[in-house]
Amino acid sequence: MLDIKSLMVFYENALAVNNLNLDVRKGEIVGVFGSNSAGKTTLINTIAGLTLHLKWREQRKGGQRITIVGAQLFEDEDIGKLSPSERVKKGIVLCRERHPVFRDLAVEENLRLGGFLIKNQAKVKKSIDLVYSIFPPLTKLKTRKAGLCSGGEQEMIAIGMALVARPKLLLLDEPLLGLSPAMQAIVVQALKDIRKLEVTVLLTEQYARPIMPHIDRGFIIENGTLIMSGTQEELMDNPEVISAYFGM
């Protein structure tokens, strides 16, 4: 479904993503693991087109020079030059890290905004109901301002917004960041439900333990370089991976 071939991203002269190959097959949940500054966010932003947008913006104001090379294929189509909005129309939807929500809008309004591009109102309504069924705690918060919700609830809203946009490929950037173990469990549980919707998921995370049992394949990156990839079992059997990303 998604094929990243020898992707390199430079911020000025610093290499953020180093000759990375990555593929995601339809229906999979794929995890990208790595420590801080490994290049996870850059990778996922590049797939979503945000890095390209940043590159244009910086170019215009004469700031940082960002270089992106390598092939980005989505359903055998080159998306490397597409703007973020065009990628969303193709079905690549990103949920950024640190639960970004529209703070002054109600929860329901946030979710409705997620479906802004979908013209069929009935379909949007159905998607929103679906989000409520995936994240039951949100049902009680429909009219509350998103800014007043807790971090975990905001993460649910953020993932929900991405889901309402009906993605084929859902990109989740550190969905568990800053959540309590209980909240993490809810988000991880939601991942299972999302899989049932036939949404392919690519997610990044620093701490692999809560999420590892639910992924099909994983990629481990360090300093922008892919150091290991494999199925869930292969990674779980690797002592190095266990010590580095499971904290054991």
Binding site: M8, F10, E12, N13, L15, N18, N19, R60, K61, G62, G63, R65, T67, V69, E222, N223, G224, T225, I227
Partner: protein, 342 residues
């Protein structure tokens, strides 16, 4: 560009040797570093001597450019502390009226009235702005925008300080060349002092307030108090500009609060590069003569002026100064893509 290559931007040789200390090994390198600065300083210092060549008209334009440069420096200082001012005319006007008052009513000569007006004006400005320092962003900008209009109407309505007619017949300065020299020297001095000032620990706090005032507050410092001090320091060159201009023209009136003293410094700062002190000065020395040259076009002048501003804000948001600085200190080359081996 060839496939498998990318464009790289690196500093020119001399800057690479150390991050903080320049290792200078030849006159060529000294010239490379000091050249642009010396050129600017010498240009400014020598300009008043060429009165025969430029004529009094362009000398006056230079003088006004210096005045706007001082206001732009003041604007940039406030900006660096996170305060966006739309009312530089407020500082300017307060300085102007103070010096008018001191000279006309108290009979002080320019030697005393200008410095006194500078300090007293800055103190008054700080006191007036103090209560609204807690406001941020657009709200602070709106208040500063309203202040000069407010004072202007008070003077008009009460007739105090000369009312609509202003205070005229103030003591004269020795002449145009003297005024130009004083303004040039002060512009250079303020630029230098401000630049150095922001590198001190105290300046560090001010820059931190610009970045994240909540963290400064959490660090146990009173943001309000630091901002008040910053307003005072930023007001000094602006009130001085007002005082000097008043004595130069020997009259102070309501136009001292005119909008152009708010807008011109702002645009000079934007054109030169917001947050860069030298940039604001550069912007003033480009904008003021440019707007004078456009006088030939009559009403179209404002159109062309606005078009230029639009061009700058959209096309070169970083400002002339940063752009030139980058081009001067860095160069670009095409390098092959190399992956880092782990």
């Amino acid at each position: 560009m060839k496939a498998g290559h990318r464009k790289e931007r690196i500093d020119r040789g001399i800057k690479v040797r150390a991050d903080e200390i320049f290792a200078i090994s030849s006159y060529r390198e000294i010239l490379y570093l000091m050249g642009p600065r010396l050129l600017a300083i010498m240009g400014l210092l020598l300009f008043p001597l060429f009165r025969d060549v430029t004529g009094a008209y362009w000398q006056t334009v230079g003088f006004i450019a210096c005045i706007i440069a001082l206001l732009a420096l003041s604007w940039n200082f406030l900006f660096s502390v996170g305060l966006v001012s739309l009312g530089q005319a407020f500082f300017f006007g307060v300085g102007a009226y103070f010096t008018g008052y001191f000279n006309h009513f108290l009979g002080l000569g320019p030697l005393f009235s200008i410095p006194l007006a500078t300090v007293c004006g800055a103190v008054l400005c700080t006191i007036v702005i103090f209560p609204v320092l807690r406001l941020r962003g657009i709200y602070f900008a709106l208040i500063t925008f309203a202040l000069p209009l407010f004072l202007m109407r008070i003077i008009e309505a009460t007739g105090y300080l000369g009312g609509t007619e202003g205070i005229s017949g103030l003591q004269r300065l020795p002449g145009l060349t003297f005024s130009v020299y004083v303004s040039v020297v002060v512009v250079l001095a303020v630029t230098f002092i401000y630049l150095r000032f922001f590198d001190t620990d105290y300046g560090l706090v001010l820059r931190a307030i610009h970045d994240n005032d909540m963290s400064v507050l959490a660090g146990g410092l009173s943001v309000q108090w630091y901002k008040a001090q910053a307003v005072f320091i930023a007001a000094l060159p602006a009130t001085f500009a007002g005082a000097l201009m008043t004595h130069h023209y020997r009259i102070v009136g309501m136009p001292a609060f005119a909008m152009e003293y708010s807008i011109l410094p702002l645009t000079a700062a934007v054109v030169g590069g917001t947050g860069t002190f030298a940039g604001g000065v550069l912007g003033a020395f480009i904008l003021v003569p440019f707007s004078e040259m456009l006088r030939a076009f009559g009403t179209l002048r404002i159109v062309m002026y606005s078009a230029l501003l639009l061009l700058f804000v959209v096309g070169l948001p970083e400002g002339i100064y940063r752009f030139a600085q980058r081009k001067y200190f860095q160069f670009e080359r095409i390098v092959p893509l190399e992956e880092e081996k782990q």
